[in-house]
Amino acid sequence: MKSTTFDYRPGFADSDADDPLSGETIEVNMGPQHPATHGVLRLGMDLDGETMVRVDADVGYLHRGKEKTAESLGWAKFFPHTDRLDYVQPLINNIGYAMALEKLAGIEIPPRAEVVRVLLMEISRIAAHLIYLGTSSIDLGAVTMFFNTFKERENIYSILDAYTGHRMNNTYVRIGGLYADVDEKVEGMMREFLTQFPARVDEFEGLLTGNRIWYDRNRDVGVISPEEAMAWSLTGPILRGSGVEWDLRKNEPYCGYETYDFEIPVGTVGDCYDRYLVRVEEMRQSCKIALQALNRLKDTPGDVLAEDRRYILPPRTKVMSSMEELIAQFKIVTDLCLPKGEAYAGVESSKGELGFFAISDGTADPARLHIRAPGLMNVQAIPLIAEGRLLSDIVAIIGSLDFVMGEVDR
């Protein structure tokens, strides 16, 4: 059977001259409390029959003023807030923010911290993509997938729990490195998870890729051409699904990503199905990178926190015994002043380029902190690809764009 693409232009699909209701539109609101909108997104739609003539994505229902909060909260105290941007991958957010501050302060992080950061970022990416796989498939009726991906994600959260003490909102990254090193127990848990994980991905793919319903509802739905994707500044799996090879890990490497062996999966058509395939392949590649990082751990001894007495808390034993360190502790906790200037750091999060642009006027608070949330750009693409399609396609489109409203509205 040939996959069919109809031209669902307004008034075209149902252009029945005898139908007195043809061309008459009805306004429908989807969300902000709709389970398929993945958070508090409101879609204002004009429907002509089942065709969406107009789609407006209305964001802002989860706006908490994070950027403004930062201006009165101080540099270090903003870390827990970054957790709550894209709450399915808190460690990537932490690392992105820390990288911006390190650039601003001119701190070099130790090699071991880089390796552990790569490990944590890739584990978080897998967790975020598992959420995509679970939620977008349950929206299209595949309940088995949802439970299986969430069960697998639970393993990741157990690892993070054993490492950071929290399952979500870890707050374990500091300026200049990480709070604690990965110990043998956590290392063992990670190795066990990463070795069995590729088989699980195959299992998930076996359930979905050849599934008729998944295939029909995703194939040729929500096509974004490479030019459009770039014009709308889409990043991440959506841009790569459209066939543009752009990944910050390869194009602007950070944390030593250039030394790891991995590939960037790209799609050809740019529909929901391609984005799904790209994400599944990305999970395999992430697993590969994480295993490489895990193997590097024993070859890179040392601390996970840079030695810099201006910005980083002194070791605890010295705080208890020496006056100098005690004074440093007080100064850094109460008034962590970063040098005057501005810095931008972008990381490849599971959704795209997550950037932090920090401007410092030399005081303890940021003069301005801008967060480039990939989810916001991705939401902007909804009208572009949904208008003219059938109403049932919107669920597949929202699922495949995979945004988290905490980050979109921030």
């Binding site: 059977m1 909260l73 270090a76 105290k77 903003f78 870390f79 827990p80 807030h81 595949a142 088995t144 299986n148 069960k151 639970e154 729990d161 054993a162 490492y163 950071t164 003490g165 929290h166 909102n169 707050t171 709070y179 090193d181 299992e203 076996g206 359930l207 890729t209 050849g210 599934n211 008729r212 319903i213 295939y215 090879e245 590939e263 960037i264 999966p265 790209v266 799609g267 050809t268 058509v269 199905y273 391609d274 395939l277 790209v278 392949e281 601390d303 926190l305 030695e307 808390l313 002194p314 070791p315 605890r316 034993t317 705080v319 208890m320 005690l326 502790q329 007080f330 906790v333 109460t334």
Partner: protein, 166 residues
């Protein structure tokens, strides 16, 4: 660059029936696997020294509180959950808190207070559960925050262990 493979459906897959059986077989196999659901209230969560639960104030073996009300935890708290008023005392440490309140509804368990404390006085315990009938009851005062240091010892040792550097 690796271009992802878009496969066309085979005749068997188009029939949809094999997919149904595949899904069902996965469900069926789960019956013989280990159950992953935790019966939470009856089966408590595993806690250890890494767990960052609610912050508690360490009390020495002689019953005196370690806190000297320097206010560093208050300054480090990103959620503004801690309120301290200090007072003088005849003890050797010279200062102690007259009032030490942690609003547990505001606390986000980030552990910054523990990291900031220069006296090992505030530590993240393994206590996680939090429920009451009013908001006021969840603002914990010194008496409710006090824990003997022996109870917090594993966490204290862990904090020293991970902060061993330079």
């Amino acid at each position: 660059m690796a271009i992802v493979k878009r496969k066309e459906l085979s005749i068997g897959e188009k029939l949809y029936l094999p997919a149904i059986f595949r899904g069902l077989s996965m469900t069926f196999r789960q019956m013989f696997k280990k159950r992953v659901t935790r019966q939470y209230p009856e089966e408590p969560l595993p806690v250890n020294e890494v767990t960052r639960g609610q912050p508690r104030l360490a009390v020495n073996d002689d019953g005196t509180i370690r806190c000297v009300s320097c206010g560093l935890c208050e300054a480090a708290c990103p959620a503004y959950a801690i309120t301290i008023d200090g007072q003088e005392t005849d003890r050797f440490i010279e200062r102690e808190p007259e009032r030490f309140d942690i609003d547990m509804l505001r606390c986000i368990l980030c552990g910054f207070c523990e990291e900031a404390c220069p006296k090992d006085a505030i530590l993240m315990s393994d206590e996680l559960e939090l429920a009451d009938f009013s908001r006021e009851a969840l603002i914990y005062d010194v008496e409710r925050l006090k824990r003997p240091v022996s109870q917090l010892r594993p966490r204290l040792d862990y904090v020293y262990k991970v902060n061993e550097r330079w």
